[in-house]
Amino acid sequence: MKLAKTVWLGSALAAATIGLAAPAFAQDKEIVIGAQCDRTGPTQIVGTVLCPAYHDYMGLVNSRGGVEGYKIKVIEIDHEYKVPPAIEAHERFKKEGAVMTSAFGTPQLIALLKKFEEDKMPVTSPGIGSSAAADGKKYPYVFPIAATYWSQAGGAMKFVKDKLGGNLKGKKIAYIFFDNPAGRELIPLLEEIGKLEGFELRTFGVPSPGIEMAAQVLDITSRFKADFVVAHLFGRAPSVAIKEFKSKSYPLSKVIGLVWAGAEADIVAAGGFGIAEGYNTLQYAGVGSDFKVIKDIIAMHKAQGRTPGKEMESTVTYNRGVYQGAVHVAAIANAIKAKGGGKITGEDLRKGFESVTTLDPSLDGLAPPLKLSAEDHEGGGWVQVWSVKGGKFVKSSEWFQGYRDVVKKHVETENKK
């Protein structure tokens, strides 16, 4: 019996070694991208939608014939939102010849920051990581490619200002945030905007896991009596917040959630679109399925004899995955054009990213008008507000930037430290 177990174990290990021994070399006309995913672990609600979306878009690009004659190959590794597996994933990507990484997860990105620079491998981090990374001079290989938290805060405050009649003087703004670095990062910026506009800011931290926040919401609604609430919450916390504001009869039209507090799943978990009526969400990619690229993806699935996955129903997160893919493809196209063919390296791709100004036209309306450059790896920090109205997300604004100069100044001072 003991022996049988040993043999069994031994064969499993042997099989594993064979699996390891078969190397996959990148071909000449192929671009390999390493995608770190979080389909398991605390943020899986995002990963299980975003990662398939990314694959879908890359599949679409390949089915159209690739980029400038190159095929794109995506290797995905799930890191369960843990750091050591992300390190392993990075080394594996390198071994498989990946020239760039699509990161997901702030701790994982931070742990690898140095590695990306040493290995000269560009990495994109839409919606995650430190806002200071928008500065391409300081972080040459990190590309947020979407509004960073600071830009989101600026955008949210501009929206609030418009909603409160264009003047914030003497108003009370509550900032309810997940009590981690990503949440705290926004406070100095909001304080500065507060000084500029003369509003009173009060912050309310919600510690992890944020499944209960009756006290904070009660404080906001009945003691502080906020005129507007900016909510920067993750995971399950956004839906709990929506539910609590509802139960305190606070109008949800006076709440704006930043990018991780505004997916369909958050609304569904809060009890449905009926409950969340009026709730505003900040987005860095368009919402809904009414875009050409989404129809193309559905057509591609049908042509290949597959039924489009359920994840397509979560359009907020799904569209972000598509948008991310489109920026990557644009950068790859730039890199190939600039080099005129041959083997594309991470360095080429970095320059490709730094000259991204137009995306795949089928993303019209879905993607912000971003312009990446050697200085600005964020692309302008464009955001859009979508609000819950009549059972669905309705666009409440076009693409806009908020307090751009304040944000820029903050990036500068932070990076001078």
């Binding site: 003991k2 022996l3 177990k5 040993t6 499993a12 290990l13 099989a15 594993a16 064979i18 699996g19 390891l20 078969a22 995913c37 389909r39 398991t40 672990g41 299980t48 990662c51 398939p52 694959h55 599949g59 995905e76 590794i77 799930d78 369960e80 939102y81 843990k82 750091v83 050591p84 597996p85 390190i87 392993e88 990075h90 080394e91 594996r92 390198k94 071994k95 702030t106 701790p107 931070i110 742990a111 690898l112 920051l113 140095k114 590695k115 040493e118 430190s130 200071a132 009590d179 981690n180 670095p181 705290r184 990062e185 406070i187 100095p188 510690p207 597959r306 996955g309 932070e414 430290k417």
Partner: protein, 355 residues
């Protein structure tokens, strides 16, 4: 493995206490050393070295936790917090005072040991499961303090970049350089642990684990030794955190949250409580098994799922198989992999003439 102990008699106490009781074990140790120092780094691709690096760092942390949980019998679910204490101590010293790693590393360990000793104070009165949950509190409190003290965390993003370690003017940057760096400290930790557990200190720990009232009666100062156990264990954790910091090039407390504590607990329990070798096996199991499972699912999952579904399935399957294997090994041998290894070895020791 296949050797005979016959004919080796221990005639003195010194021999009984020897680190390598048999000449053969000495040879095995030497062979392993050659394997890891000379053969592994020259033969294997950088990718595999990165996995080794993660395992070596994990070995340091697991050994420390095993001293506390396995040898002293005090369950701790807050081990990762001490890693962050070590990490931030070293990072602050390295950045603000520009100190080299051979100062920051022990400093990180000592700071963690100090904090660990404070956390260990309730162990005087609280025992068993109650203590385990109390250590969970220390995890949350330490995290909160780091997160809310810019002087420690280095600002709102709570991460401090550290320069790469430099040895004799050579900057340790590649996985190969770091391989020797982490290997050195893993071996050091191994030797230290083996020596701690066979000394007076280790015996006191074991006495406390087995029956703390009896230990007190025979004159062991329980409180003192429990605190020492907490301090030593936290020292290892702190060093582990410093190693992570140099390995990543950055200190960030989000890399040391409760899941990490639970991972390390898994290492020592699956590996085998109260076994140095078990800590090593546990570190390998927890670090490498998910990778192996993923590779297997990638290699053979194609027969069941199409490629689009495969990446979705691979992630969840990894969790399921990993959990199932933990349960399987525990049901087969609740005392861990080290015991399983001993069973196999004992089987072969007399094989084929077992009667």
């Amino acid at each position: 493995m296949l050797y005979r102990e016959a004919g080796n008699y221990k005639t003195t106490y010194a021999k009984d206490m020897a680190l390598f009781p048999l000449p053969l074990t000495r040879w095995v140790a030497a062979a392993l050393l050659v394997l890891f120092v000379a053969i592994v780094p020259t033969v294997l691709h950088e990718y595999y070295l990165s996995i080794f690096n993660l395992i070596f760092i994990a070995v340091v942390g697991a050994l420390g936790l095993n001293i506390l949980v396995g040898y002293t019998g005090q369950i701790s679910i807050g081990h990762a917090a001490f890693m962050s204490v070590g990490a931030y101590t070293a990072a602050n010293l390295a950045v603000k005072l520009d100190l080299p790693f051979w100062i920051t590393l022990p400093a990180g360990g000592l700071m963690a040991a100090f904090v660990g000793a404070i956390v260990g104070i309730p162990s005087l009165r609280i025992k068993g499961t109650y203590l385990a949950i109390a250590t969970l509190a220390s995890q949350l409190i330490i995290e909160w303090i780091i997160n809310h003290t810019p002087a420690i965390s280095g600002g709102a993003s709570a991460s401090i970049q550290v320069p790469r370690p430099v040895v004799f003017g050579h900057e340790l940057k590649s996985q190969l350089d770091l391989y020797f760096f982490t290997l050195f400290f893993a071996i050091l930790a191994l030797i230290a642990t083996v020596n701690i557990v066979r000394s007076r200190l280790g015996r006191a720990f074991i006495a406390i684990r087995d029956q703390d009232i009896a230990a007190e009666i025979i004159g062991i100062n329980i409180f003192r030794y429990k605190l020492i156990a907490f301090a030593i264990s936290s020292f290892f954790a702190g060093v582990c955190g410093v190693l992570y910091t140099y390995y990543f090039g950055i200190a960030n407390y989000e890399a040391y949250q409760i899941v990490v504590s639970i991972d390390y607990l898994a290492m020592v329990i699956i590996g085998g409580l109260g076994s140095v070798f078990g800590s090593v096996l546990g570190a390998i199991f927890v670090t490498a098994l998910p990778i192996v499972i993923r590779l297997l699912v990638e290699a053979f999952g194609g027969f069941i799922w199409d490629t689009a579904a495969l990446s979705a399935v691979a992630a969840s399957m990894r969790l399921v198989i990993f959990g199932a294997l933990i349960i399987f090994f525990l049901v087969v041998e609740p005392e861990g992999l080290a015991r399983l290894w001993r069973n196999i070895r004992n089987y072969f020791r007399t094989w084929p003439f077992s009667y």
